[in-house]
């Protein structure tokens, strides 16, 4: 088994009374493409928020390459090497596409206040390097043509890609994608699947995916974890998950009886 990248043990999150996450364990291995699935409101996005420091988790341990991230705010988590996208694309209203990517690189750049004011040679060099890297990334996601355009005015599919490019800009080793294919047509979903594979193969990035498109999940992920009402009800390879009765029950609701007219999938 390859080396363990992300190790979440007993994650607990309560919103005054409602327990969103109850003792969730999840392990993701280096260079793996894992998925996190479950019906709506199962706590998938909450899990992402706790891992990336958006919400402070109440209990449990989050180890990333052995180093604990518990209690760290979002800006430290991204420094450690975890980047994420959002369920509904949250882009910056007043910024162009390339600026989004440059902001994404913020944690990797070092220009200080004085360097910026005096535009020291260091600052200028770093700025041009950053611009080059940003253009390379846009090339990679295929947004070169839209570089100077206001990001929020782009069509929905392209906005998704801006968000991914922005996440990649911080050179993460683990990328958390929150329902990237929401609102995409089959052709776009197909492109995204290839794109995710290229991310893992060419750039060696580990992917953790939240997705409802079962076809995409089953074909692309190597390991799947299923959440329901904040509890982990199953985990394993796509094949095992498809056969797991609890998963079906969670998704399709309780079976009326053994031989009911629905029958086995």
């Amino acid at each position: 088994m390859t080396q363990l990248l992300l190790d979440v043990q007993g994650l607990m999150k309560r919103f005054d009374g409602l327990t969103a996450l109850r003792w969730v364990d999840l392990q993701v291995h280096e260079h793996a493409i894992a998925s996190l699935i479950g019906p709506n409101g199962a706590g998938k996005t909450t899990f992402f928020n706790c891992v990336t420091g958006f919400h402070a988790s109440d209990d449990g341990e989050i180890l990333f390459r052995g180093e604990s991230l518990w209690g760290k705010t979002a800006d430290r988590v991204v420094l450690a090497g975890i980047a994420r996208t959002f369920q509904s694309t949250r882009l910056f209203g007043n910024m162009s596409v390339i600026e989004h990517v440059l902001v994404g690189m913020h944690s990797r750049l070092k220009t200080g206040v004085l360097d910026a004011i005096l535009r020291t040679p260091f600052a200028r060099r770093e700025e041009s390097e950053a611009a080059q890297r940003a253009r390379a990334l846009l090339e990679f996601v295929g947004l070169t043509a839209y570089e100077q355009q206001l990001a929020e005015r782009l069509p929905y599919g392209l906005m998704r890609r801006v968000e991914i490019a922005r996440a990649l800009a911080s050179e993460p080793s683990l990328l958390l994608l929150d329902e990237p294919t929401a609102g995409m047509n089959p052709q776009e979903t197909e492109d995204l699947m290839r794109f995710i594979r290229r991310l893992r193969d060419e750039r060696g990035i580990t992917i953790l995916l939240i997705e409802h498109d079962m076809r995409l999940v089953m074909t692309i992920s190597e390991y799947i974890t299923v959440l329901d009402y904040g509890k982990k009800i199953a985990e394993g390879t796509p094949a095992e998950i498809q056969r797991d009765s609890r998963v079906i029950e969670a998704y399709l609701g309780v079976m009326p009886d053994e031989g009911g007219e629905f029958g086995r999938p």
Binding site: D16, W23, D25, G60, G93, E240
Partner: protein, 392 residues
């Protein structure tokens, strides 16, 4: 498949103790020290060390009454802030000016009553009409401000409606200044006599300038009374102001919690879009909220003018800011909280300078200091519930 561990096996992580949280957060630490220092100074003044205490109990009692009166006026304005914030999660900066509009229109009403002799013949009716006109004009101004300045910006980014509110507040103040002039105007003296049979007990104080006693003058009367050993100076208008603002607050609370449109208002406060899906006419609810806020601010304006007897286009600004502080103190969005916040701020503002032996120039410093302290220790205010990020 790793076995799913049972919950109980885990060792629970204890939440950090309040004290350690305090130490780690420097801002809270410093403000805690300042508060402690002030408390000690106050204690030194109150306790009768060598001889009489610096700060006599009857002085405290009298200032408490002044503070409650001023506080109930702040409360009436604060209710307007809380209502609007609850619905639009936006501070209606122009609310101070809406308060002033009520006071000013009340002035025209009461002077007209004086001219037509109604004030002399039937003061109670004249006062009632003044209050009504004050409340109605404030409501009209509030609706106009909402219609022109706020409605088009309903879903603009957070900063935009706030800046329009500041603009509306300045514009309103200046329009009144240009129309009605900057000179301060005075409410005529009016007497509202009740309980004539209390005359003998009042003795000489009950006699007005004509020498006869017509009972307790609720508006202009000043009576020296010793209560449980404290000689106090009672102004019935204090209790009138306090009682009326309490009554209006309760009426508002009943309206919001017991009526159908009150329920609609709470729904819109919870989530505007979902409420719209449930068939609530959001625009009408928002307009009603502004009307209610305006009515209360207008009442506050007229009471303020009866109590302080002076009105000018500039009286709206400072009480407006103080009332916001009160609303935040009580817990923004919470009606009893606004009432409590208003009274609390009124009392502290009046009592603290003399209790701490400071000059009353620092009255406003104490008011704003209080606001900062609350936001540092309990951003959701004393009665408020935790502000979820959506509405925070």
């Amino acid at each position: 498949m790793t076995p799913i561990q049972t919950q109980e096996m885990r060792a629970r992580r204890q939440p950090a103790s309040a004290l350690s949280r305090l130490i780690r957060n420097p801002v809270q630490l410093i403000s805690a020290i300042i508060l402690l220092g002030l408390f000690l100074v106050a204690l030194r003044n109150v306790l009768p060390l060598n001889g009489a205490a610096e700060y006599q109990p009857d002085q405290f009692a009298r200032q408490l009454i002044f503070g409650l009166a001023q506080g109930s006026i702040y409360a009436l304005i604060a209710l307007g802030y809380t209502l609007v914030y609850g619905i639009l999660s936006m501070i209606n900066f122009a609310h101070g000016e809406i308060f002033m509009a009520g006071a000013y229109m009340g002035f025209f009403a009461i002077t007209a009553a004086q001219e037509t002799g109604l004030l002399a013949s039937d003061p109670v009716l004249a006062l009632f009409i003044t209050l009504l006109i004050g409340m109605l004009s404030s409501a009209v101004v509030a609706v106009l401000v909402e219609r022109i300045a706020y409605r088009p910006l309903r879903n603009a980014p957070r900063l935009v409606p706030l800046i329009t509110a500041i603009g509306a507040s300045i514009a309103l103040q200046q329009i009144f200044l240009r129309l009605f002039g900057a000179s301060t105007r005075r409410y005529p003296d009016v007497g509202w006599f009740v309980l004539p049979n209390a005359c003998p007990a009042l003795g000489t104080q009950g006699l007005d300038d004509t020498g006869l006693c017509r009972g307790i003058d609720l508006i202009g009367g000043r009576y020296d009374v010793t209560v449980i050993g404290l000689e106090l100076r009672i102004l019935p208008i204090h209790f009138l102001v306090f009682a009326l603002s309490l009554a209006l607050m309760i009426a508002l609370w009943l309206y919001v919690h017991r009526t159908k449109s009150g329920k609609a208002m709470r729904a819109v406060a919870e989530d505007r879009n979902t409420a719209a899906l449930m068939g609530v006419n959001v625009d009408r609810v928002i307009v009603t909220t502004f009307i209610l806020g305006g009515l209360l601010a207008g009442a506050g304006g007229v009471l303020y003018a009866l109590y302080n007897q002076q009105v000018s286009p500039f009286i709206g600004f400072l009480p407006g800011i103080k009332a916001f502080t009160a609303a935040v103190l009580g817990g923004i969005g919470n009606i009893p909280g606004a009432m409590f916040g208003g009274l609390f701020l009124g009392v502290v503002e009046t009592v603290a300078p003399s209790m701490l032996g400071l000059s009353s120039q620092l009255k406003d410093v104490i008011a704003f200091g209080l606001l900062v302290m609350v936001l540092i220790f309990r951003p959701q205010g004393i009665f408020g519930e935790v502000l979820s990020s959506k509405r925070g």
